[in-house]
């Protein structure tokens, strides 16, 4: 830092503070984002004695500025002189941790958590912990909410007396008057449990957990479900039954669907946390109930977990549990009244085949797949098709191909372009699994039809699809099956189709190689340079630029160059522009 003091006189704090006070919010924001530069200009001493007090005193600004400030201060330790002085950062962050806007407060808490690690154990008790206590007993709910996130970072590093105080504070906040604070406490319960000694987990945390899980507000209860995962992981197996399970059972049958949804959503984590025995006895029936829940939201969340749940069942009687308990529910879900439930199931159901093996798949799952392939909702069919690879490994895709084809054809012609787009994306995968013969026979026409779809996004995707197919089936296949059709479109009366030819050529030239490009594609492109539509002509210029690297020098000089020169003197501005660009990029000279 030598020489720094001399420079400081150049930057009187007033000038810098003016910048932080600028009337224009955007400028103020820019200045705050470069707060580290300002601090650097001031040096550590004046940052501590002048800049930080200024920041602490004048915190009344737009939330966006405060957010930037809260973030900056988390990285300020070195700028105030290192860990020895890090506590100087606490006052401004403390104020920021009490503002109303959640994002600002959260960021302030994040920064406080960060710099807490830079405090020595002594400083932590002298400076940091009192701050946490002040926040925890603040008048307005915002400071108490912020306090919830700070207990777990100081708890492990303070003396046992202070630890007892912290536990007491946390307990108080768990039964706070405002639901906002109880929600904050509930969401940090798991994290706090992790840093507590096991005895206190059993004595303190469990009672808090039980209380929060039966809170009058469902928004609090559902957060307790999340904490349940962490708590169950911490406790020895023999205590789970008495300490956790009653609450979990109650949550799985809560009268609020939001809580049940949360249970369904966290089911895999819960399953891992409670272990195989409890899973067998308790979670299997609970899961069955969730799959049969009266709210579609809950059923969909549970349906999403079917594969993971089955995968994580204890192996010794996994198959038996699935066959007798889970599969019947799954069968019902296949004909659920809600399409989102069916669609959630369709996105995971194929995964069951690897777990159940070939025979069960053919006997029990295949009928379900086939039913879903015929579902009235396109998302369901699409989800089945997009997961075909799982089945392919177990029973081979041929088993399905008879039903697959009508499903694909129908999706390919769906009225919603997003559905058509999605099925195009699976074409290369399908082509790989079904083989070139099947493809040529059944799917090739579809792929070509997409090229003249009325939605550009589909035409574009179709072009890209052709490229992937050529990469898969090779140049010879391309020459025989698709190139003639693509080039044929160059004479179409519709200029959009003619342009599609050019887009296809752009995509295919590399995969097809020099010979096909030079002999078959280039002449078509060159001929199109006389098109009456300017959009086609400038796309010719773009195409020439694109396929140029694939061509040999002779073709470039004798055929491409004259055409581009002609286009460069076109009467249309855009055509000229792109022709000139192509000339400058290609090695034509």
């Amino acid at each position: 830092m030598a020489g720094a003091d001399g420079d400081d006189s150049l930057y009187p704090i007033a000038v810098l503070i003016d910048e932080l006070r600028n009337e224009d919010v955007q400028l103020r924001l820019n200045s705050i984002k470069k707060l580290s530069t300002i601090a650097l200009a001031l040096g550590v001493e004046r940052t501590r004695t002048e800049l930080l007090p200024f920041l602490t005193d004048t915190i009344y600004d737009e939330d966006e500025v405060l957010l930037a400030l809260a973030e900056q201060l988390g990285n300020f330790t070195m700028l105030v002189g290192g860990p020895e002085y890090v506590h100087c950062l606490l006052p401004p962050l403390e104020s920021l941790a009490t503002v109303e806007e959640t994002v600002v407060r959260d960021k302030a808490v994040e920064s406080l958590r960060k710099i807490s690690q830079e405090h020595s154990p002594v400083d932590l008790e002298v400076h940091f912990e009192p701050l946490v206590k002040r926040l925890a007993s603040g008048d307005w709910f915002t400071s108490r909410t912020s306090a919830c996130g700070l207990f777990s970072v100081c708890y492990p590093r303070v003396s046992s007396t202070v630890k007892a105080e912290i536990r007491q504070h946390f307990r108080t906040l768990c039964s706070d008057d405002t639901p906002m604070v109880r929600r904050a406490a509930a969401s940090k319960l798991g994290e706090f449990a992790k840093v507590l000694e096991l005895d206190y987990v059993k004595s303190d945390i469990i009672s808090l957990f039980t209380a929060l899980a039966s809170d009058e507000q469902d928004s609090v209860r559902l957060l307790a479900v999340e904490a349940c995962v962490s708590i169950a992981t911490l406790l020895p197996q023999e205590d789970l039954e008495t300490l956790v399970m009653p609450t979990l059972r109650q949550a799985a049958e809560d009268k609020s669907w939001r809580v049940r949804y949360m249970v369904a959503d966290k089911f895999s984590e819960l399953q891992k946390a409670v272990g195989p025995e409890i899973t067998k006895n308790d979670l299997v029936p609970a899961f069955q109930n969730l799959l049969k829940d009266c709210e579609a939201e809950v059923r969909a969340a549970a349906a999403n977990k079917v594969k993971e749940f089955c995968e994580n069942l204890p192996e010794d009687n996994r198959e038996q549990i699935i066959m007798t308990h889970i599969l019947p529910c799954v069968k019902e879900l296949v004909s659920d009244t809600n399409q989102h439930v069916k669609s959630a199931l369709a996105s995971v159901i194929m995964g069951l085949s690897t777990i159940l093996g070939k025979d069960n798949t053919i006997e029990h799952l295949l009928p379900l797949f086939l039913a879903q392939l015929k579902d009235e909702c396109p998302e369901v069919r699409l989800n089945i098709i997009s997961n075909l690879d799982c089945v392919n490994e177990v029973i081979g895709i041929r088993q399905l191909s008879q039903s697959l084809l009508p499903a694909i054809v129908e999706l390919a012609e769906d009225a919603k372009w997003r559905v058509r787009l999605a099925i195009i994306e699976y074409m290369p995968l399908l082509a790989g699994q079904l083989g070139v013969e099947f493809f040529d026979e059944k799917l090739n026409t579809l792929c070509m039809a997409w090229l003249i779809d009325h939605v550009y996004a589909i035409r574009e995707a179709a072009t890209c699809n052709l490229m992937k197919l050529v990469e898969k089936f090779g140049a010879e296949w391309a020459q025989n099956t698709i190139v003639p059709k693509v080039l044929g479109m160059a004479n179409d009366p519709n200029y959009l189709h003619r342009m599609t030819t050019l887009f296809c050529i752009n995509a295919l030239s590399e995969a097809c190689g020099q010979e096909i490009t030079t002999k078959q594609m280039l002449p078509v492109v060159l001929k199109m340079s006389n098109d009456q539509v300017a959009n086609v002509r400038f796309n010719v210029a773009k195409s020439l630029q694109k396929i140029g690297p694939v061509l040999d020098n002779n073709a470039l000089q004798t055929e491409v160059k004259p055409v581009l020169e002609k286009l460069a003197s076109d009467q249309d501005m855009d055509v000229k522009y792109f022709a000139q660009e192509a000339i400058s990029v290609l090695p034509l000279a």
Binding site: M1, V15, S36, T37, N75, D218, S256, H454
Partner: protein, 478 residues
């Protein structure tokens, strides 16, 4: 639930679909068929999986039994009406549904016209019947992002019964025989809390009834007032800072409007805090337009009670002034005008500088509706008189924007309005006006110079940063 509306890529397909003739040439058929939206209805989940039919034994009509037997029969009918039916299943229990409906109708009439029916035993039974029927977990919203402005609300399927239950409850609360001192044992904090949760109902008809119910309860149960206000506080804070979703904000604000009206002076700290920490932040919510009228009414009520709150309120609005949403800006400007309509001149002076800096920004907004709304202030006589009194402060703030717009705004209507405003200023204070016109150019130059100095300062600072080698991780090598 999860919405499902693929949008065609408009920009891309427009070329193909500008006119039918082009369509033909292009050979593109318009395929997008959007299904007509159906009216949706739903009801709470708790009723859904009842399998067995419900049987209620028909009771005689109240008017057909002797007066001394009526209270007893009244209780029996209340108990029967605790049974709830599944209205999603339109075919089940038809007869019993009709029976309950007519019983409820009878009860409504009975509490309206009868005398001496309200025995002490009736209170818990009434509250029980109402609780059984109205308190329920609201089902998930059908559309993922329910937009109350665009989407049709989902209507409550059990409304044929529910409406009568609400009707009955309101008549009960309003009945001359009703005694809050007895009822408060049953209509307690827990009851109110559940009632408030129902304000999230998507069905506007239900929210309307709830509004009346809550209003009556607030009026009759003094002991619950503070609690009700606190819980509304919590609902709003959650709405603003956590979920941005709650259907009944407008209704709750409407109730608050009349509550604020009745506040005693001087205002308690609690009420001022509510204004500054809850009502003002409500302006930040995305769906402001749905409850803005009610919100602005509450704010103005507060200011009429206590004019010294004007400064914090206006500063609050300025802090949350919309950055990107012109629609909201127009709403803010409207509210501000309502505030200015009742502002005291002494308060105006305190806030005029920051206020007119914002107005000057609005006036120069490229969005003509924003500019227009701000310029309309000059048509308001009271505001004009305030501006005139303080023209020496306001004119310098407004001048450069007005001057610039009069030359550059794209919208001729705005330019015309600006001319009028400039003319008004000229008449108010011609000396100052001439000075400002004369110094306009040099002021701009001074601004530019300042801007340049700023840039240089930052450049120097950045050089310094490089020189000192502040690494990206914030560690200064020594």
């Amino acid at each position: 639930m999860m919405g499902d509306r693929p949008n065609p890529p408009r920009a891309m397909s427009s070329a193909a679909t500008t006119s039918p003739s082009v369509d033909k040439v292009d050979g593109f058929s318009r395929k997008s068929v959007r299904k007509a939206k159906q009216k949706r209805s739903q009801s709470s989940s708790q009723f859904r999986s009842q399998d067995k039919p419900i049987e209620l034994t028909p009771l005689p009509l109240l008017k057909d039994v002797p007066a001394q037997e009526q209270p007893e029969l009244f209780l029996k009918k209340l108990q029967q009406c605790c049974t709830v039916f599944d209205f999603m299943d339109t075919l089940s229990d038809l007869k019993m549904k009709e029976y309950k409906r007519s019983t409820l109708n009878e009860l409504v009439d009975y509490v309206t016209v009868s005398r001496g029916y309200l025995t002490e035993q009736a209170y818990p039974e009434v509250v029980k019947m109402v609780s059984h029927n109205i308190f329920r977990t609201l089902p998930p919203s059908d559309s993922n992002e329910f937009d109350p402005e665009e989407d049709e609300p989902t209507l409550e399927a059990s409304w044929p019964h529910l409406q009568l239950v609400y009707e009955f409850f309101i008549r009960f609360l309003e009945s001359q025989e009703f005694q809050p001192s007895i009822a408060k044992k049953y209509i307690d904090q827990k009851f109110v809390l559940q009632l408030l949760e129902l304000f999230d109902s998507e069905d506007p008809r239900e929210r309307d009834y709830l509004k009346t119910v809550l209003h009556r309860i607030y009026g009759k149960f003094l002991g619950l007032r503070a609690f009700i206000r606190k819980q509304i506080n919590n609902i709003f804070l959650r709405f603003v800072y956590e979920t941005e979703h709650f259907n009944g904000v407008a209704e709750l604000l409407e109730i608050l409007g009349s509550i604020i009206n009745g506040f005693a002076l001087p205002l308690k700290a609690e009420h001022k805090q509510f204004l500054v920490k809850v009502l003002i932040p409500l302006h930040t919510v995305r769906s402001l337009s749905l409850f803005h009228a009610q919100l602005a009414y509450c704010i103005v009520q507060f200011l009429e009670k206590d004019p010294t709150l004007t400064e914090p309120v206006i500063r609050g609005l300025l802090k949350f002034w919309p950055k990107t949403c012109s629609q909201k800006e127009v709403m803010y400007l409207g509210e501000l005008e309502e505030i200015l309509d009742v502002i005291e001149p002494t308060q105006f002076v305190k806030i005029q500088e920051p206020l007119f800096k914002q107005i000057s920004r609005c006036v120069s907004s490229p969005h003509f509706q924003v500019a227009e709304r701000a310029l309309y202030y000059w048509n308001n006589e009271y505001i004009m008189s305030l501006i005139e009194e303080n023209s020496s402060v306001i004119l310098p703030i407004m001048f450069s924007s007005l001057y610039r717009i009069s030359k550059e705004h794209w919208n001729p209507a705005i330019v015309a309005l600006v001319y009028n405003v400039l003319k008004a200023f000229m008449e108010m204070n011609s000396t100052l006006f001439d000075e400002l016109t004369a110094s306009y150019k040099s002021d701009r130059q001074r601004e530019k110079k300042k801007e340049k100095e700023r840039e240089e300062l930052w450049k120097k600072l950045e050089d310094l940063e490089l020189k000192r080698g502040l690494r990206s991780d914030g560690i200064i090598p020594t």
